[in-house]
Symmetry: C2
Subunit: 266 residues, 2 copies
């Protein structure tokens, strides 16, 4: 335990609504980013295009200089992409510290069904990071990041595939490294929350069902490809699926009870 590192609060990342749900802890924010299968990365293409752009990308937090760093320590965000994509071209040409990006990850853990539409909500975890993106040019760092990203989708998968990538594969892949400037997270858990005036209105409470519907991601049974020659699904895959399904389900169900006195947990 000891110290808890937090991101500095700037205008850009300070949460103003439902402040009690906000977190600036590196550990909490990085773990939301890492538990998301897809990250949404936004950047500004610039004039004449008035619109920001969003790309769904695969990525993960890591430190090449200190590979053993924990999730609660300063980390970079590594994103995987294709060499000629627009974000890569912009990041390559960007002046100064790199291309300014915003990285977002969100997941829904439950539907909060309360007495009024206004008090409806989700249980959720969301996080954003702001930072400057640059393509990784060091070959060793690039290979290290490619392995990190592959294993972030399925632990140990890298060593169970045909590696290392050949020259064509290395040159068609670009890894963006995002130097993180700030970040914030928001977590909503618990049950229904209604106003007294509605809770005291029998006409309403006798008619409106209130509660939580837990929501989580489920990995189904692996389907071998017609060309697969390995008999049986390897243990590192089956155990990942079993662990994730249990973890995701437990999180969604446990989140419902947060904040309730023990005797009222349901």
């Amino acid at each position: 335990m000891g110290r808890t590192l937090t991101y500095p609060k700037r205008d850009a990342n300070t949460v103003n609504r439902y402040k009690h749900r906000a977190t600036y802890d590196l550990g909490a924010i990085h773990s939301i980013i890492n538990s998301s299968q897809v990250l949404h990365v936004s950047f500004s293409p610039g004039p004449p295009d008035p619109f920001p752009a969003i790309l769904p990308m695969i990525g993960t937090m890591g430190s090449f200089d200190y590979p053993s760093a924990g999730l609660d320590e300063p980390l970079d965000c590594y994103l995987h992409g294709y060499v000629s994509s627009r974000i890569m071209n912009l990041a390559r040409k960007a002046e100064g510290d790199g291309l300014p990006v915003c990285i977002a990850a969100s997941r829904v853990d439950g539907l909060i069904l309360s007495l009024t539409p206004n008090s409806h909500s989700y249980n959720y975890r969301s996080a954003i990071l702001h930072g400057y993106a640059r393509p990784v040019t060091d070959e060793a760092e690039k290979l290290w990041a490619m392995k990190l990203i592959t294993n972030s989708v399925l632990p140990d998968r890298w060593d169970h595939t045909r590696v290392p990538p050949d020259n064509a594969e290395m040159s068609s892949t670009v890894i963006l490294k995002v130097k993180v400037v700030d970040g914030s997270g928001k977590i909503r858990d618990g049950g229904v929350s209604d106003e007294r005036k509605d809770k005291n209105n029998n006409d309403v409470t006798n008619r409106v069902w209130t509660g939580v519907v837990p929501v989580h991601e489920l990995f189904g049974d692996p389907v071998p490809s017609p060309e697969n020659k390995v008999s049986g699904v390897p243990e590192y895959i089956t155990s990942f699926i079993a662990d994730m399904n249990k973890h995701n389900r437990d999180y969604a169900v446990t989140a419902v009870n947060v904040g309730l006195p023990v005797e009222e947990q349901y």
Copy 2:
């Protein structure tokens, strides 16, 4: 059937990578947006802040002028937010057509585990919209959109809650209406795809398990709140959960087989 409406291809929304997976059909794009529980909305706060911002928001496609319009017809995107949030202030003050935003929705339908890290992928559906956001000022349209958004989370929920919203609820809620300028979608389905050189390498194929792990969202058993007085979970909730779970699971499993000859479907 008849005509299929498509968004115009501009620089900002034209897909350059894996073009065969791209779609510009309004129906396909709007249905990806509407099937997402969370939309990621980006906007540029502007100087001195160099970073674009991303907000997770709840929203849905709709047409106030033609409420019976189908998903494959021109629609606006309605987003739900809090009155004093930054995006609402920017949208209120925006000149011209409104605040330029990008709206993104993505979902993962399966992990594609192939012979090399480079050929790994997801089955997924993603969509983006570009448009101009303005707060809805017409009270009738605002109330209509609030009902539409609530029912997009859980069909029929609006009429099963305490409605209409009171004055305080109406004024604390802002609905953003996004006039869509263009959009695009990307859909990846099917199985593993590897290069011949790896498929012909017995050392690799004898060692590497290949296949697809379907992924989908699962709604769990509803948990009544300690204060709930309605006995039993209402049918409109249980049937929604059953339908969605079946639909989501079927999509993820069926996606694996897309493109396979019937005799090879697995």
